[in-house]
Amino acid sequence: MKRKDFLLSTLPAAAILPEVINGYSVKALNENSPLVQALMRGLTLTDHVLVIIQLSGGNDGLNMVLPISDYTNYYNARTNIAIAQNKILTLAGVSGTGIHPAMTGLQSLFTDGKAKVIQAVGYPQPNFSHFRATDIWMSGSNSDQEVYNGWAGRYLNYEYPNFPTGYPNSNMPDPLAIQIGSTTTLTTQGPSVNMAMSITNPTSFYNLVTGVVDPVPNTKAGKELKFIRTINQQTQKYATSIKNAANAVTQQSTYPSNNSLADQLKIVARLVKGGLKTRIYMTSFGGFDTHSVQVTNGDTSIGAHATLLGRVSDAIKAFQDDLKYLGVEDRVIGMTYSEFGRRIKSNSSTGTDHGSAAPMFLFGSKIVPGMLGTNPTIPTVATVNDNVPMQYDFRSIYSSIMQNWFCLDKTVVDGLFPPNINNQLQNLPIVKPGSCTNTTPPSGNIDKVIWNSPAPYSKNTTIYFKTQGGHTLLQIFDTLGRLITTLIEKDYAGPVSDQIQFNAERLPTGIYYARLQNGINQTVWPMLKVRE
């Protein structure tokens, strides 16, 4: 499904669509509608930059962000890989939750108030295939939907319609997005073309990055290949602007060596400082598919996963320090994500298998520091199928960034996602207030209120909850992350306490999670169903 289709399906079926702007049909809407206003506004002016760090392979979030306050359940679920409690790094401004001992760099960013962790980010009906899960994360689709363009691609296509026709131009002389790495990804695939350029593409920038350059043989073929590559470089519209930006920065602070993510982020810092107007940079770092031996026998704080997390942490810390050194700290935020987390219970080969929700880090001087969400709920006796229940939909993070960092109207942002989840997306306190002057930042008044009775129960239980008013969503998930039912989805006029019965008569026994979402808040409440 293409973005346009998302939009069209939000319109009444009978609407006639005589006018299309940037793929949006606007005539069917009142000209005073926010969407039309947003469309007429043109390019959103901002110098903000988003850096995306993809952790490929499915990062074991539960060994990265550690539930200190629920340590016993955590330890029992994964005795062979659990991080010793006394080694967990605590985080400034966060109680009951810590991070992996290898992540000292990130710890210091928390201390500086420049980092945030968002717990248990995922989506209903999680997919455990790397390929599908990656596509879902990159496209922003629902689990059962196949969308072959990316959330950032749709965003950039909105801001820069008709790209690449007419680009570069005075408004946008630089690449819209840059992938550090060999190929552009689905994330920046627009409705028709990819909006990003890749700067180790062998025909564009051989020497800028430590990219692979295939040698030219000393033959007739080599002569012609060299000739075509030269033309290719000349025709690369952005060659000059990227080279100029790169060359403008001669001094950067220190980055760790033997760390490919650090290498990539160093290039990003250089290009940002060098003056590119590029809004999105994508980097990637692989090896997180830790089915076995993710820790070293005898010391679970070291080993393969620790090495990976250490590099991520060191790279981000060095990057943040460099941004500050270069004086562009306030223009850049970053985020990490992985296509899925891993199972709560470890396997017998000191590894973890494909799971669902996982934490994300966000960093930058304009990030609201601390933690969003709570420690994941871990069963007392974890079984092989137990997954971290989702607290935040990943698209709420994208959506919040687009609204509060890229300064887009919510109506526009909603148009970039499948229509049936628009109402469910939250505007989360990720970006510090005032980053977009005309945007009202969300406040983080967390009033956690949900419980059930009887508990445990065998057939039915009543769920009691409080809403602050406005859009309220009450969903039931099983431990695999599957959406069992949506009990409540409606707008409340104001603050009120309410209740609803959950009929579990036909469901197998075990834990179910009630997820209450209200405005920026959500709470996940475990409910145990037992035999009569």
Binding site: G57, D135, T183, E224, D289
Partner: protein, 556 residues
Amino acid sequence: MDRREFLAAHRNRHKVEDSGSSKPFRTLSGINPYTGTWSENEVIHLLKRTMFGAAKADIDYFKTKTLSQAVDELLTPTAPAPAIPIKEYVTSVSAANPDGNIAQGTTWVNDINGDGTVQSQRRASYKKWWVGVMVNQDRSIREKLLMFLIDHFGNETVDVGNANWIYKQHDLIRQNVLGNFKQLVDAITKDVSMLRYLNGYLNNASAPDENYGRELMELFTIGKGPDSKYTESDVKEAAKVLTGWQINGTTYNSMFTPSRHSTVNKTFSSFFGNTVITGRTGATAGQLELTDLLNMIFAQQEPAKFIVRKFYRWFVYYDIDAAVEANVITPLADIFRTNNYQIVPMLAALLKSEHFFDVMNRGCYIKTPADHIIGSIREMNTQFPSLTDWSTNYGMWSLFNNWMVNMGQNLHDPPNVSGMPPYYQEPSFHELWINSDSLPKRNQFTDTMILNGYSVNNIRVQFNCVAFAQLLPNPGNPNDLIDDALRIFFRNDLSAQSKAQIKTQILLTGQQWDYYWANAWAAYTSNPTTANFNTINARLKSLFQYFFNLSEYQLM
């Protein structure tokens, strides 16, 4: 028309082959039969140079043959001639003399109609048709030779104007591509398009028009090589020989009018041994003197060398150094001459030679726009609706033709009578195809064919990356998949490091284990649901798009 001045500017830059160059990649191989490895790699090399792209079915077919058998088969087309052009257009309302007598779907090639608007529509129709013939080419060298020879004779449809005449020329050359070059020159001299294009129809005894006589020597037969010493006087005398030919406006055939023919004796220079062609009278005078003229020209050493050099630049590479001249051009010219200008023996010797298969001569040929467009369509095994759906097919062919024009190759419409500059223009030659305008367009074309393709009459034609991968022997293994695809797409392989990087980034989506691709492929083949298809299709599309955007893809 007179192109004298414009052409002179070009021709002055023609140079004799640079014998003193010391290129590091110089090769001394000659036309001895190649006896080295004959594997899929060599088959692909041969096919890319003699057909448009190396289609998997053709590769598999010729792999079972010896090299000699393969070349002989390529030089011996057995498929029937393609269907002739049809009226796929709706006659413009602005035509003063519309061709309503021709029903859509039936051919216009025999219909006499002098209306400029109708003829303009037919010219467009002709080009679409020709593209279609190439897309559906038979398993032979015919189409590539045809394109070469039509370029050699350099006519422009836009100047000739009459598409029926143009088609007659096309068909004349098509019938002779594997025949006798000297006979073809005889026929083309009297071809109505040529008579029109180079003013032969105006050439008469009272005021000879030298246009054709000059190009006959300079561009079509003798050339301006170092040993070409014909004189201005020879051009004038040849023009007299060629007087009297005209175009019959009602039959669209050429005719000879004795009263317009110069009956004087024509005396040539010492370059031609001071030959005197006796002036004739009567109805047979034109042909008799033309035969004398061509006998005199082809008795020289130069025509064979000049023509062989053009063949060489079309099939091998543009640079002809002293070694190539001595070891390839000269002996091939001898074969050409000895066989009385039969094309096949000379071409067979070239295509079977160790020089043709010399590793130094592989992968160095910059694709023409036709090689790029039609070659990629054929290599991707692109599926079209049945030819009975002429409307959709002509629509597609029209789009491809527009792409070729935008990339600098306008079929049967070179910039001037010299043909397409990449085949004669020193010193850049083939490199002229690639510039900052054409190269992005080449990428746009393959991007488009991969991402969306084209829809005509609600029928979509696009590259099917999954179907292509299924043609390969082991597509479930990402390493084999890349190797096998690149063997077809590229003639200059990527490094193992690059291939590993591409595999990880694209096919594995950043994962480190090959089995994730294998599993995805197996999931699709065992259960071809839309979801399973899309998972592999998305990655294959990215992979092929990436390959087609690399510089390597422009070479063959």
